[in-house]
Amino acid sequence: MPLFGKKETASITYISHSGAVNRVDVPVGDSVMEGAIRNNIEGIVAECGGACQCGTCHVYVEPQFLDRLKPVQDDENEMLNTTASPRQPNSRLGCQIEVTLDLDGLVVRTPPRQI
């Protein structure tokens, strides 16, 4: 299988519940969930591999970035009501946030529990 070619990236910062900070470059077009999984960042489980089926890629988006994101869709909205850690106004599913150049500098926090 071909490797991921050289692509444009955006820098995303993941802050875990324990306070660990990881800043990584995520290729544009990947999701915030993939950015975490591919860099082995803890705090995201992603049981379904990004198919919007499991709700274990829950993140809290730093509020100043919220209006740069595409709105929450119905499925995602419903699942956020039943995630393992409580929903906050800035809750999103990481697999439903596609990384764009506009999101360069994005900061998300991972919740205490995904399962």
Partner: protein
């Protein structure tokens, strides 16, 4: 002395990842017959066929991940046989690799039909070939109205093809869901112009592409040749150990005592592969963990998301929550008054809820399930 994993699919991959996550320091060798990085299969019949995502996005991790995690990944190599007495495996190249613990995760292969020129869908190679053939075809016959056949049919219809599905049983996905759900899907496919022929085994001779999705056969040869007991799968105990305490078997190939079915079962799902990989890793790392995860599964067809939690096979009562006409509803399955499974259509929140209910063993009555004004969250509180 190390862990050797035979089969680098969803289950084998998860074992390696979970071993490292658990702090396991010994060498790990992950051996896969396919020439690709470990990948997930669900997108093959969904986003990839639809042209929404490239094949490379199915890879579970980039190549650099394996070196960074000190997982020795050997692709394009088959484990030819096991020598349990020497605790070693022999590869197709003739190389011998010794192990302290061996994990068998060879998955399953498609059941084939005695007809020439048919396409099947299991691997990346199959998917790329099917996509090419699909692009060139106008009329498509799908043999098998299970979830893979229906996902292929849906993708083909979205791509503007004329599609006929032939199913031997008198309803769709009969092995997985209840008649209400089967009938719902028959209607959805009909609305998209797909012709569904039930109780009908013959493929349309006029189609210029015939695709079959008629089930899989677990890969049992490695285990059987090594003298390990096999039935419908490689037989393991609740810790996922075979009769040889140094050999585990997980994923599509494993037959295990399932507390939800009250019997030995073999499941084919991402959930089962992932959770069994985690349990095998935990047990290799020295914990004694029985496998008790709630089974769940999904399929996407057109704009319909079907999610299944639990196993509905033994149900003696079914209760509808919501109206199928609204295209958003769930079926709750009970056995002797106890909730055993829930199928949700376009209700992903209810599906997550169902998994929690089943895992916690919380008591829900059929009347509560049927009453939409009853908030399921209150049961868990």
């Amino acid at each position: 002395m190390s862990v050797v994993i035979a089969g680098a699919g969803q289950a084998g991959f998860q074992t390696a990842v979970s071993l490292r996550a658990a702090g396991y320091l010994e060498p790990i060798t992950l051996i896969g017959e396919e020439p690709y990085l470990p990948y997930q299969r669900p997108p093959l019949s969904k986003g990839f066929l639809l042209g929404k995502q490239g094949i490379e996005s199915a890879a579970l991790r980039p190549e650099s991940f394996y070196a960074a995690q000190r997982i020795e990944l050997i692709t394009g190599a088959r484990v030819q046989r096991i020598e349990p007495q020497f605790r070693s495996v022999v590869l197709s190249s003739g190389a011998r690799v010794s192990y302290k613990k061996l994990v068998l995760a060879p998955g399953a292969r498609v059941r084939t039909l005695p007809l020439a020129g048919i396409s099947y869908l299991r691997t990346c190679t199959d998917a790329v070939e099917l996509k090419q053939r699909l692009n060139a075809a106008a009329e498509i016959a799908v043999i098998g109205g299970g979830f893979i056949g229906l996902e292929v049919a849906a993708a083909a219809a979205v791509l503007g093809k004329r599609v006929t599905v032939f199913e031997m049983q008198n309803r769709l996905m009969a092995r997985l869901v209840s008649p209400v759900v089967s009938e719902f899907f028959r209607r959805v496919h009909g609305e998209h112009g797909i012709e569904i022929r039930l109780s009908s085994p013959a493929p349309d001779p006029r189609a210029d592409l015939v695709v079959a999705g008629v089930g899989v056969l677990p890969n049992l040869e490695l285990a059987r040749d090594a003298g390990l007991p096999v039935a419908n799968g490689i037989i393991v105990d609740e810790y996922l150990r075979t009769a040889d305490e140094n050999i585990f078997a997980i994923g599509d190939c494993a037959e295990y005592p399932n507390p939800f079915a009250g019997a030995r079962t073999r499941l084919e799902s991402v959930q089962n592969a992932v959770d069994q990989g985690k349990t095998a890793a935990a047990n290799i790392a020295g914990r004694n963990e029985a496998y008790r995860a709630v089974p769940w599964f999904w399929t996407d067809q057109f704009d319909v998301k079907l999610q299944m939690a639990g196993l509905s096979g033994g149900a003696d009562r079914e209760v509808l929550r919501g109206d199928p006409e609204s295209r958003r509803f769930s079926v709750f399955y009970f056995q002797r008054g106890r909730l055993i499974a829930v199928d949700s259509i376009n209700r992903p929140g209810e599906h997550l809820m169902a998994r929690k209910l089943l895992a916690s063993g919380a008591v829900l009555t059929p009347e509560q399930a049927a009453d939409e004004s009853f908030d399921l969250h209150t049961i868990l509180a």
